[in-house]
């Protein structure tokens, strides 16, 4: 029997319906990635025992937390999971040390021992100097580390991270993300991470489950999800153009009209994905080697770091990343007619 997490969760609350299965092996990090309101946080709360299941079962190894069929429900305080909240929820009236020691004290560990263990964890996250500080005196990054130490000091089998980096500014975020990755690598239990930031999911998770409208729409290794998005949401997240159609050999007849030639051979329903940088724009019909060429109209322009993302109406509609110089040269303004070209070698196709 493995000590992993197996969860079959069905939660119905008001008009919202969550139906999600999650399995996490020990030492593995699974990210629930999805837009706000998709139900990721509800899933996390259900795992923690803060929201009752309407139907389903949750277990870590042979410890059963909840089973609606067996009318079993272990309350949150007896599940022994570690949880890190988006805004940390460090107790404002307790010092950093007492915050970290809280879970141990709740388990009846003597004050002295609890403080020693808390200090060891504060040392580990580099905050021993702040042991006597109240949370109000800590920066966002420091508070996040204390919250992580508080969750991990009790050596839980299951660690739940609810948007652990969302409250941090961009600079701190990179640093804390790297550290978190380091701590997760040392952690022997199962970790479920909830995030709406694809980068968090890519860096921290071994496996990503994309959640939309309370359902898992795609799951797999981060690279796999990034390469082959299956919904517009994921495609937008990973910055790819995603089209859907019927494939036969190298050709795909798109649902929205037009057709595509790809490097892969697929038969039946398929997704077509390619990066906006693979899209070239021209004033007149290009003669080059590109196999996929069509006529469209510029709908919008958006300045990115050193490129301009151009939204072109099709069919099919696509996003193209071009240089600022190209925008001026081609005189790209909303409403301008334009020719679009994508090389077949840049286009991936996979079964839907």
């Amino acid at each position: 029997m493995t000590a992993g997490l197996t969860a079959r969760m069905r939660v119905r609350r008001g008009g919202f319906d969550l139906d999600l299965d999650v399995a996490v092996a020990p030492h593995q990090v699974v990210a629930l990635l999805g837009p706000n309101g998709a139900g990721k946080s509800t899933a996390l709360q259900a795992l923690a025992g803060l929201v009752p299941l309407t139907d389903g079962a949750v277990a870590v190894g042979d410890r059963r937390f909840e089973d609606t069929a067996g009318r079993l429900r272990v309350p949150a305080e007896r599940r022994g999971v570690g949880m890190v909240f988006q805004d940390y929820l460090l107790f404002p009236h307790l010092t950093a040390r007492d915050n970290v020691a809280f879970g141990l004290r709740a388990r009846g560990v003597a004050r002295r021992t609890a403080h020693a263990k808390a200090d060891a964890w504060l040392e580990r996250v580099g905050l021993i100097a702040y042991a006597r500080s109240r949370p109000g005196a800590l920066s966002g990054g420091q508070a996040q580390r204390v919250a992580l130490a508080r969750a991990l000091v009790v050596e839980p089998d299951l660690l739940l991270l609810d948007e652990p980096l969302a409250a941090l500014d961009a600079g701190t975020r990179i640093e804390v993300r790297a550290e978190l990755r380091h701590h997760l690598a040392d952690f022997a239990g199962c970790t479920v991470l909830v995030t709406h930031d694809p980068l968090d999911a890519m860096v921290l998770a071994d496996r990503i489950v994309v959640v939309e409208h309370g359902r898992a729409v795609q799951s797999g290794a981060p690279s796999e999800v990034a390469r082959s998005p299956r919904t517009d949401y994921v495609a937008r997240l990973v910055g790819l153009n995603l089209l859907r159609g019927k494939a036969k050999g190298h050709g795909v007849a798109l649902e929205c009209g037009g057709s595509f030639v790809t490097r892969d051979t697929v038969d039946g329903s398929a997704f077509v994905a390619f990066s906006p940088t693979a899209v070239a724009l021209h004033r007149s019909r290009p003669d080059g080697s590109a196999r996929n060429v069509w006529h469209g109209r510029v709908v919008g322009l958006e300045q990115h770091a050193d490129t301009v993302r151009v939204q072109v109406d099709g069919p099919p509609p696509v996003l193209a990343d071009v240089t600022t110089a190209a925008v001026a040269e081609l005189d790209l303004t909303p409403g301008a007619p334009v020719w679009v070209a994508v090389k077949a070698t840049e286009v991936s196709c996979y079964p839907a």
């Binding site: 909240f85 929820l89 009236h93 809280f102 388990r107 949370p135």
Partner: protein
């Protein structure tokens, strides 16, 4: 919790001239509240003050008043805080009605409260008759009756203040404590209560002040006997009929004690702010 006002705010407030329709009634209200107290001080027989203040009867009444108000506050804390928690943190049918009932003693004339206590705990009261018959216990005319009468009138202040404080504290901290393995009691004791501490202190101050000034319910339920049930307000009322000078001195003393307690607790309260 009163956050420290930024200097900018104060500047803006000082520069804006308050409109007369607010300024005039506001100053009138201030005068109306403060001038009677000033009158009390002006009319006081300052020369006889030391003698009057150190008389055994005055000291008895003062000691009794402070002790009873303190015990009433403790009783209110012991019972009122859990009630406030139930109102703020649990959902049960008729909770709104219960909340309304809790506030009834606030609008009830205290004498009526005293009569109600007699009806329940008096020698012939619904419960009191059994206390008397089975245990030979008779509450009226005892110091315990003073404490009960004061707690009856003052506890709602505490319950309302604490409930407000609990409603205002983020219950997600309690969720966090639960995920850390804390039992519901530990959550209350180590998280909820400390976080609501400013409200609890404020409620206790209100409760104590109200208990200290209690008159109607006390005289009705506990009677008036020097050193046993005759608290300062009753002594004041009694002396007013025979010896107004002493009554004025006692009133001043009561006023001084109230101001002192408020000042002391207020200071501690603002310092105990979180962060």
């Amino acid at each position: 919790m009163p956050a420290s006002t930024s200097p900018d705010h104060r500047l803006v407030a000082a520069r804006a001239r308050p409109p007369l329709p607010l300024l005039v009634p506001g100053l009138l209200a201030l005068g109306f509240l403060v001038l009677p107290l000033l009158g009390l001080a002006l009319r006081a027989p300052w020369r006889r003050l030391p003698d009057l203040l150190t008389s055994a009867q005055v000291l008895d009444a003062l000691r009794l008043s402070l002790m009873c108000a303190l015990l009433a506050t403790l009783l209110s804390l012991l019972l009122g805080v859990p009630l406030a928690w139930l109102l703020a943190r649990t959902d049960f049918p008729g909770r709104r009605i219960v909340r309304a009932l809790v506030t009834v003693p606030l609008v009830l004339p205290p004498v009526v409260g005293g009569v109600a206590l007699l009806m329940l705990l008096g020698r012939r009261g619904v419960v009191g008759q059994y206390l008397d018959a089975w245990f030979g216990l008779s509450l009226p005319f005892t110091t315990a009756a003073v404490v009960l009468a004061e707690a009856f009138v003052a506890m709602p202040f505490l319950v309302i203040a604490v409930e407000g404080a609990l409603q205002a504290t983020d219950s997600r901290y309690e969720t966090a404590a639960a995920t850390l393995g804390a039992s519901r009691w530990m959550v209350f004791w180590r998280v909820t209560l400390p976080m609501a501490a400013p409200g609890v202190v404020a409620g206790s101050v209100l409760c104590f002040a109200r208990a200290l000034g209690e008159f109607g319910a006390t005289i009705t339920f506990a009677g008036s006997f020097p050193g046993v049930t005759r608290t300062m307000p009753i002594e004041v009322y009694l002396r007013l009929q025979s010896d107004p000078d002493t009554a004025i001195v006692l009133s001043l003393l009561l006023l001084a004690v109230s101001v002192l307690v408020l000042a002391m607790l207020r200071d501690r309260w603002t310092r105990s702010g979180l962060t």
